[in-house]
Symmetry: C2
Subunit: 491 residues, 2 copies
């Protein structure tokens, strides 16, 4: 889920210097408004991997804000006083009062995350802790608190570099190295962070990931994220407004996972045909194996218009026994479906064990077309991410292998394909006015896809981004991914 | 929590015949309105102990409502079709469409409850299942469904009687006896029911317990409960309104746990003094024991005005080392406390391990005086029950023994005490205009106390109702309860 946080998000000095004074003034104005009104407390929770610059970022907040109404509480090992009381007592004691901003460092997430990363807490117990945290934060939000949770993220390689540099410095000993969030545990800590984001990111207490490889980008993004939440709440009416940002990863530079794709991949025809045959044989054998009866396959095909979903699906079905697969083209819901929760029409089409359900577009319409076209409310598509994660977890629990593809092409390539379709009579049915209209919203869709992948690429149902500029390359990648996922499931 | 459901709730024939035609017409009107508008689906979930008359109650609904827009789905062992799909598939498939009422019998609660009762699921795993159910129901409610969950309850003795009678009948074999909800598992099933009610009773999908010992009372109460939910929702604006009823136990006869108290208990003076000395010695020894350092004691005193809280507290503190207890009289919150979540002022006063915190009135003010006087909103005191259960569970987790007393006197006795206070100069400070005003709201307070005990008497922090008409009897019962709870905790 955090992949796009590790993209090279960078802010140059001029851009920073142009933005920083404005941000600073706006933050201060918002804070003074809060102090004057005393209508709620803002809780900013700081977490993330080691060496991501959490301490520096907090320093920056002290520079920007009026420090008299800003308090930081940091927690490490409990004191004697604290040990003599229930675990949450120390956090309760220090809750910021209305009208102030409280920064919580080493929060109520720390103990469970640490224990989970170090293997002292199993999945079930970890999940239970997260549910208890959810209840706590729901209560705080119900009582009026604004809660914002920031995860500072850097890639493992960057972290390694920083630690090395740090050790060479004279003041190194002052740096508190968390035993669980260092280089050795980068993967596990990131995994724990992803789980946390999935389970405890609520509309009232969202997690936002701050890409932290570049100091200027980190600080400005953090500041803007806090500002947006404060302003939204201060502008709201009496009630408690959701503070959820649509994006899990705060990236004012609008870089998404799609930016990391190399669309120049291609495969020559002869090689393609040989590989295609091999992969189709492999898939045929796998789906015919007796053990396949114990599992099943859910294939999700999403992608830009004209990215080649249909062609890829055909190459898959050629390898399958027609009695054992179904293709579900997903268009507008029927009357009957509209009288049900939106996931109902997918539940009713789930494959039995031992069979393959192929969805040509899917439940992700909720966070793509429905979001972009305004067919559902913001609250609806925001909650859809977790609902979908929950749905797919249930599929995986039942033994189904969930494989999700996003077929990506460039805007230019799409234009070429549209034009080609318009020219060839038997392909004209494939191109409609709507396709041209969607094309005008390219940027909005791109953002929606980025958010979708960030929020719904989970360990058990990961997204596979497919570079589809070259159709042959795309089809082979699709087939290969399916084979590998089945093999992993059967192992 | 379900104690008051087992009270003798009875409805005589005349009263039933007077009410039934009105209820029936109103139910039908509401249903036709729903059918016409097709704006949401109503899901009525039916659960409870065996032989409580669930089937008969559903029959009654078919008699009252238009059966063309009413569907019942019953689930037992999964079919082959169902086993080949994720566990929730069968419930999804059968969801009632907008405009209809769906009765769900043997619902998504069945498998986890059964497994838990039979000891095949441990606490942690059971809790996880309940959280998954919460997510499912939240999604349904967010998608517009009206969800109402009814638990049909009868006492174990009544159940035993019914089963015996049933076995003598020729058609007995048609009765499906659930292996986990019969007489042998009555306690465990009730315990599971209580947990479910605590964990999954949300404003949007509340549990309501239907006292089912009397058929007429059962049917009419069920009908009225369903009607109230339907009407509230149909009258609401576009948005989804909470359907929560304030009461966990549906009791139109307004009988509460307080009705089961025998206020004639009393103790003669000589016997009282002997017993008092013994119990105080026992408490002194217990609270002085080295093992007591590992636990701690939270005493909550609530009760009618002039019920003798102060006197009871004094008899407790006489037995304690003054360095190891604190009395916290709870009145209106300070400015500082008002700038925090309402539980904050109690968290800050929690006793350390090895000590005793005595609360003369407590966090229960939220669901008593604040509810009755309208100092907080309905939504606030409704969510307070679960917040308080959560709070007390954390205290218990940390080793604290939570003992909660409700000191009950009759309205006449209160008047006598008020008058006595008004006459004795050094007791005049104890009686204020407010006391007289509260007295006028006797009925409202009584209902609030009943709801409070039903909703917050948990296995780890049960309420002890104290018959306080005789002060000596009350003081002894308080001391004895404290000693027994400490002894149980130290075992």
């Amino acid at each position: 889920m955090f992949e796009s946080a590790a993209l090279p998000h960078v802010l140059d000095k001029e851009a920073y210097q142009a933005e920083e004074p404005k941000l600073r003034q706006a933050l201060l104005d918002a804070q003074l408004d809060l102090v004057g009104r005393k209508s709620f407390a803002a809780i900013v929770l700081i977490a993330g991997v080691d060496c991501a610059g959490k301490g520096e970022a907090i320093q920056k907040l002290y520079e920007w804000l009026d420090p008299r109404h800003l308090h930081t509480r940091a927690y490490s090992e409990p004191t004697d006083e604290e040990r003599a009381r229930p675990r949450m007592w120390r956090y309760w004691r220090d809750l910021p009062p209305d009208g102030t901003i409280g920064i919580v460092f080493g929060s109520w997430y720390n103990d469970p995350v640490k224990a989970f990363v170090l293997g002292k807490l199993d999945e079930l117990a970890f999940e239970r802790e997260l549910e208890a945290i959810n209840r706590f934060e729901t209560m705080l939000a119900d009582e009026g608190a604004l809660i914002l949770k920031l995860w500072f993220h850097i890639a493992q390689a960057e972290q390694k570099k920083r630690l090395k540099k740090l050790k060479a410095k004279p003041g190194a000993s002052r740096h508190v190295l968390e035993e669980w969030s260092g280089v050795d545990h980068h993967m596990a800590a990131t995994g724990a962070g992803e789980r946390i984001a999935q389970r405890t990111s609520t509309p009232y207490a969202p997690w936002v990931v701050i890409p932290s490889a570049d100091d200027r980008f980190r600080d400005l993004t953090m500041g803007q994220t806090i500002l947006a939440s404060l302003e939204k709440r201060l502008a709201g009416t009496a009630g408690v407004e959701p503070v959820a940002a649509p994006a899990l990863i705060a990236a004012p530079d609008r870089k998404t996972v799609l930016d990391a794709l190399d669309l120049t991949h291609s495969v020559a025809k002869a090689k393609y045909e040989k590989r295609l045959g091999e992969l189709q044989d492999r898939l045929a054998v796998l789906s015919d194996a007796p053990e396949f009866r114990e599992i099943g396959l859910v294939l999700v095909f999403e992608g830009n218009d004209a990215a080649g979903k249909g062609g890829s699906i055909r190459r898959v079905t050629q390898a399958l026994d027609p009695r054992r697969f179904d293709i579900h083209p997903v268009a507008a819901p029927s009357d009957e479906e509209r009288a049900q929760p939106y996931l109902w029409r997918f539940w009713r089409r789930l494959p039995r064990k031992g069979t393959v359900g192929i969805f040509d577009r899917s439940w992700y319409g909720r966070v793509l077309v429905e979001r972009v076209e305004g067919y559902c409310t913001e609250a609806e598509w925001l909650r859809a991410y977790n609902e979908i994660n929950d749905f797919e977890a249930q599929l995986a629990d039942s033994g189904l292998v969930v494989v999700k593809f996003w077929l990506a092409i460039s805007q230019d390539e799409q234009l070429r394909r549209f034009q080609a379709r318009a020219e060839i009579p038997f392909k004209q049915f494939k191109i409609t006015d709507e396709d041209w209209r969607n094309r005008e919203k390219w940027g909005l869709y791109r953002q929606a896809v980025g958010d979708m992948v960030d929020r719904t690429s989970t360990a058990r149902a990961p997204w596979t981004l497919v570079e589809a500029e070259d159709k042959r390359y795309a089809r082979l990648k699709v087939l290969k991914t399916i084979c590998e996922r089945i093999e992993a499931a059967l192992r």
